[in-house]
Symmetry: C2
Subunit: 877 residues, 2 copies
């Protein structure tokens, strides 16, 4: 006997998800629990993989095995597939390891044809039911298997209803149903050129193939990418004997949760329809009744269902989402699974289950998806308002939350409108550091260009502001203060709304509800998580406000304080430009001296906000041309302001031009060229720490200075020597006994490859996985958007390596660097400060390779805390 | 007793170069051979390292040790340092492990002061000699130790000669010498504010320090970088008792080689001066006599010297370069070393030594610097003409050889002038593929921007054309067809000359002599090299002409045939632009179909030129925007030509804009997006190979297709599938039984890290170390020039990682990938096709990590052959 590709429900159990898919495993489990499950069999996920390996074909031996199991099902059911006398009908449903919207819909009533329908009509003595079932089957099969849109069939129904002058499907009689069947088949033939398949075995095999095929459809791709489901899992197919909720008024179908999926409240929650089949409940043709009503209509069935629901929840120790059908007063369970729920519900259910003694705290910590916490921390759209709003476009979900405001196009306008008390939504081609103040006052930010790690995205996440980036379909007209999207033009002052969790854009005001994490069991739950966590969680913050926010969210330090963002405000940018234009050390030092007090002040504010926790300050990183104007009018104006000729400024700008700025004169390369910058920044850090230390004698200030873009130990040593000379002098002069540390980013492959050398000098490593990903893959995050779509289409990449750390490539470098670093400095601190620091799967990776901390934007701190806890529970060190 | 930092000559020997430097080791060796060497001692290279470790100071214990050894020298010499009665004078000379021009000059007569000079006058009964020696000492010490320019002293001498009405130094008498000493000391005090140091011990320690210091001067830096001498070697210092060639007419000094260093001819070759000290021979104040004349003037001394010279050559088994002094008829040997020689001499000496039975062939192969072969392959300046020419600027030595021609500024003008029979030198800000035809006809190419791997440099090396790139001091005015350099303006048609081996630029015509490698023992020598070599040597060639050239130079295949250069000529570029502008597959395919025949024709030509040897063809690599115009006028014109609006073309250009093109939409990313490009290129390769196979049934054609910029196995597999589908179909249709291979570049760090995965699909790897270096270091070769100078100044990098493979970082990736690749495909071919393939140290690395071949530009093929042979001899696998 060959490999087994098919399992009867009675052969499986709940632990066989990988092979049978979630649905199949749960059907098997319910069967073994003795629950009323219509019997059937599951074609395994391995058969799906085999289907793709065989060039999208079901191998003959698998087909044969399926028919063998169909034979066994006929025996159990006491009916025969394709037999008009006592017909066995089946449903065919997909079922992957994880629940996957976007894959194939259910096909019901499979096995019907022109003769079987007649038999069914006789056998059930219910011809209307038989023809209703047949027309449903034709419709579903055509839609799902043959890609003939369901809508076209609906049009035929509507046409008939109009003719008959009726409104509801239920008002159509047997003859109408027969007429529909006739018209459907006719339409099918017209469209497909062949008759609707009459052979049940052909119908079955086509349906199984359609399920396998649907694993690869674009909607499934998108869902998998969003939810990190590997393509190679494949899907199983469940073939189950039909029970009929549409057999009459003693029948029905419904869905229900054991707890309220929106709030987590403990009570049966769901709805059902009498005399209906599955799709009717969701299709909205009739309004379903709340599940509580079943208690009145069919008390016995209700009690039986409630008891089963309770048993299932006890069994799975989690809130269940169930489908059931009542056929002539008898209850059948069609599916159960752990129910999807809102963030608030997830927390409440987890905490309640602990209080009810069903699970322990460790298990509770594993029950909430870290990413879900986002919804608790950011405003969300009011679900009622959202239902009515139309999506006019879609960008990248760059910073979560919902926002609604009036369109403005410049940072200045954002400030001006904000001062008038207006909610504004800043729309830009892309943002730059000069836009910071405008971004701070905006409800949300929408950009045309730029990816998940663009300036807009990074800064918005830092501020916890909603942002949708990279919506290339928008065309902006700055001159006339308007933008066009989806054929409509929006002017300054028009209301729009954006959803930074989905990337959706709405051309109107959609009401939002504010976030209030403190109201629920958030604090209690997070305290449990913190018990298990071994990674520390730091934050990336560049100003006291963000630092305070992160501190309140539980950040234990700052892992990345960028200093360049501070350079853009007011007088500072002028001094920076003076420094850039200077052609000798003295003039540069003079300009830097002007910046020093500002930097020191900023650092003091940040130290205060963090109340003595570690703060890692990174030295100036971007290429200097980022601080110079690009537009001719700005160049003219700024040259005038600086008292130099526009020609001179042009010359400087040209001399700083780079072909590949990402790989240009930036990071520590600036400090090697202009050590006076590092001197100034060292002085600002050390003086600030000394001042705060004096003010708070009970804190132990240990400022940490981080040198970016290091690729060679001598390069690090050169800058470190500059830092140490300045720091030691200032500390000696102060008379305060303060320690400090000098470490480096590991963001250049060569740094990872030579980490043993670098660790001889560097006291800590912080993996800058944004740049490390760029260099390791050899693609620029600003440009990758153009070709990555082809890579997703072709399954070469299944997720964005800037969102999820690429364990196979970038991860190898991280692991190698961590090991090498520890060989020469066993007590080296290791952290990560790239955007991956707030991504749960990346946090898990960081835990596994033994880093000491992750650092992420303030609003991702709770996510990282939870992800770190889950990683520690799953992979004890 | 502490560490030993000083060795008497009699304590050392010739094997102690690392510790004593080359000069010190050879002085010790000559001493042990019983040759007449003035005795002395060597302060070791470790003392130099210690000097830098101690913050540029000589530790007291080392000073003490030096004085102890001075005491021993006094005993041997029977004279006393600083004793007017019987003074010991010494010379102080630097001596690194390798001979290093650019370091400190010699100081002679050290130990003289106002009283000792009087004693010396009495003791030798030769006051003129004594004061001549003193004034020389003051002059040398001031110049070398105190940085008071020698010229200033020469002016004082000239002034005195004028006053006295004499022309020659020898015409100055004792009083004149005394007067010079007086004036020199006066000038010294005026400049330095202190008296000339009178204490001999102070003089000595200052001189030793000056030697150590000179290890770090800018000229030494440049020399080290050019010759790959590590900074950490340090230099030794030799202190030797003086013998005086200026003691009278029975004395003299000279230099001689055992063979002619220009031709290699076996005969004593050199010159000497009677009554002179060392520097007089080179200073040119009097014309020295040829060494043969010594045979007449002092036959006994000559015979003794000839015998010693012969003994030294037999002893060292190599041509010797010796310095000697005759003091009152007695011969002293001051130095011997293996003589520097021209490429032609190096080959002749190596071959002659084998014929003379002194060394074997293996040893001979080690005797020629691979890089030297360049001079045999390219035209060189006529040395006489070069002496008279003035350097007006310096760029990068981008492609070796010498060139002389009339300035033109565009490829079109180059062609026009060339057609009129003129030699032209093409001057460009930078070159681009459109300039190819102009570059082909130019004698040489000079660019303002771009490094060693810029377009100009790479293409010029491929063509064997002389190129100086990146001379930033030039300002070009295209509009007026002129450029300015060193304060002078050169117009179209003006003659200039460039030296691609040094980077020098001359503002005039300098005559060149053509290369003629076949005239000497080149062939015989290279055949020896090929016996030992284990690496195969391939070439990088994109056209039949280069391929033929490389084949003639011994290339065993083509390791990199770029296909994009073929896209620029005539009709092709039009079709390429059509393809780029096309917005659907069909239009793209139509445009590609136009290019196909050209590509196929090119490939056939290349296959023919290589006579059936392997040819690896790389698929399209650069981003598509490189094929589009950038200037507004060109955009207008080309849009018109293409029959589209300029707006449309602008839109396409804008849509292709990239922030970091190096990390953008290029390489295999193009084939993933537009598989039809890969289809067309596959068809061109396979059809060409089939055609050539049919024409030459005795050849076994195995076309190799190389996919660039791969970072992930699925990406490679995707493109490979496209290639295989097309190739298999064409081969099947042809009825010819032909194999082919599909492999990949390893040029993205991630490819190296996941090489085991990639090797499951790829049949060969070719390390693209240009891009791999960029990504591993995280710097763009186009931009690195701006900051690398700071890195050289600070010794962070000692050589250009684009010229010499960085073994520590990039090399680790190469080694890792080679190992990983072989784990999953043990018979994988491994090669390198970056610019490093022609660099001797990089070739050695490739041999050590076990690659199968290196591939380099045609004119570097002989260099790579020799370097590979030397690597195999030094590191047997």
């Amino acid at each position: 006997m060959g490999h087994k590709y098919v399992y009867q429900f009675s052969e499986g159990n709940g632990s066989m998800r990988e092979l049978l898919g979630g649905k199949g495993a749960n059907l098997a489990e319910m069967t073994s629990l003795g629950m009323p499950v219509p019997q059937g069999f599951t074609v395994t996920t391995e058969a799906c993989t085999r289907y793709y390996e065989d060039g999208r074909a079901i191998a003959p031996e698998i087909q044969e095995e399926i028919f063998t199991y169909m034979g066994k099902l006929e025996e159990i059911a006491g009916k025969k597939f394709g037999d008009a006398g006592n017909p066995l009908l089946v449903s065919v449903r997909s079922g992957a390891r994880a629940s996957m919207p976007g894959m194939m819909d259910t096909i019901l009533n499979l096995g019907l044809n022109d003769t079987v329908v007649e038999g069914l009509a006789k056998f059930t003595n219910n011809p209307r039911f038989a023809y209703d079932s047949y027309r449903r089957f034709i419709q579903m099969f055509s839609d799902v298997v043959m890609e003939l849109s369901k809508k076209r069939f609906e049009e035929i129904i509507d046409d008939l209803k109009e003719k008959k002058g009726v409104k509801q499907d239920v008002e159509l009689d047997t003859d109408d149903m027969k007429e529909l069947v006739r018209r459907f088949k006719e339409f099918y033939k017209a469209e497909k050129g062949v008759d609707f398949p009459q052979e049940p075995k052909v119908q079955l095999m086509e349906a199984v193939q359609a399920v396998f095929r649907s694993w690869d459809n674009p909607r499934a791709d998108v869902y998998r990418r969003m939810n990190e489901i590997p393509y190679d899992w494949g899907t199983a197919v469940n073939v189950q004997s039909m029970v009929f909720g549409n057999s009459g008024d003693n029948s029905g179908t419904g869905v229900a949760f054991t707890r309220n999926p929106a709030t987590g409240e403990k009570a049966l929650f769901g709805e059902y329809l009498i005399n209906a089949q599955g799709e009717d409940v969701v299709a909205g043709v009739r309004t379903p009744s709340p599940i509580s009503k079943l208690h009145e209509e069919m008390p016995e069935v209700y009690d039986q269902f409630a008891s089963i629901a309770n048993k299932l929840e006890q069994h799975y120790k989690d809130m269940q989402d169930m489908e059931f059908t009542i056929e002539n007063g008898k209850l059948y369970m069609l599916q159960t699974r752990n129910g999807k729920r809102t963030a608030a519900a997830a927390l409440k259910v987890a905490v309640d289950l602990v209080d009810e003694g069903m699970i322990d705290e460790k298990e509770a910590v594993l029950r909430v998806e870290p990413k879900q916490l986002d919804a608790l921390l950011h405003p969300q759209f009011d679900p009622a308002a959202l239902k009515k709003a139309a999506v006019i476009g879609k960008g990248l979900a760059a910073s979560p939350g919902a926002a609604c405001g009036r369109v403005v196009f410049t940072a200045e306008d954002a400030k001006a409108w904000h001062q008038r008390g207006e909610d504004v939504l800043l729309v830009r081609l892309e943002t730059s550091p000069e836009d910071i103040e405008g971004m701070q006052v905006a409800q949300g930010i929408l950009t045309v260009r730029g990816g998940m790690t663009s300036h807009a995205a990074v800064v918005a996440r830092g501020m916890g502001t909603c942002c949708v980036s990279g919506c290339g379909e928008i065309s902006v007209d700055y001159a006339n203060k308007c933008f066009t999207l989806d054929g409509k033009t929006y002017y300054e002052g028009d209301w729009i709304s954006i959803d930074g969790s989905t990337g959706n854009i709405y051309g109107e005001a959609v009401a939002t509800v504010p976030a209030d994490p403190s109201s629920g069991p958030f604090g209690r739950f997070m305290a449990w998580a913190d018990q298990y966590r071994q990674l520390k969680v730091y934050t990336n913050a560049d100003n006291p406000r963000d630092a305070k926010q992160a501190f309140d969210f539980g950040a234990q330090g700052i892992g990345l304080c960028r200093t360049e963002h501070m350079f853009f405000e007011g007088e500072r940018i002028k001094a920076i430009r003076e420094m850039i234009v200077a052609d000798n050390v003295d003039d540069r030092k003079k300009a830097l001296a002007k910046i020093m007090p500002y930097q020191q002040g900023d650092f003091e504010g940040i130290y205060e906000a963090m109340e003595g926790q570690p703060v890692v300050i990174r030295f100036l990183d971007p290429p200097l041309h980022e601080f110079l104007p690009t537009k001719e009018e700005d160049i003219q104006e700024i040259a005038k302001e600086m008292g130099i000729t526009a020609d001179k400024l042009h010359t400087v700008i040209e001399s700083l031009h780079e072909f590949n700025p990402m790989m240009g004169h930036r990071g520590c390369r600036l400090a090697v060229s202009f050590p006076e910058i590092a001197e100034m920044q060292t002085a600002a850090v050390i003086n600030a720490a000394l001042a705060v230390q004096k003010k708070h004698p009970d804190w132990t200030m240990v400022p940490e200075i981080m040198i970016p873009l290091v690729g060679e130990v001598k390069e690090f040593k050169f800058v470190k020597d500059v830092v140490v000379a300045t720091a030691d002098r200032l500390i000696a002069e102060s008379g305060v006994d303060m320690k400090y540390e000098v470490g480096t980013m590991i963001e250049i492959p060569r740094a990872a490859l030579t980490a043993d050398e670098i660790a001889k000098e560097a006291q800590f490593f912080s993996f800058g996985t944004n740049d490390l990903t760029q260099m390791t893959f050899g693609f620029s995050r600003d440009d990758a958007g153009k070709f990555l779509s082809y890579y997703y289409d072709t399954k070469i990449y299944e997720s964005d390596p800037f969102a999820h750390l690429d364990a196979n490539g970038v991860g190898r470098l991280v692991e190698m660097a961590a090991k090498l670093g520890r060989t020469t400095r066993p007590d080296i601190h290791l952290g990560i400060c790239g955007e991956h620091g707030g991504d749960p799967t990346s946090v898990e990776f960081c835990h596994k390779v033994g880093l000491n901390y992750v650092s992420c934007s303030p609003f991702r701190v709770p996510i990282a805390r939870l992800a770190a806890a889950q990683a520690a529970i799953k992979h004890p060190r």
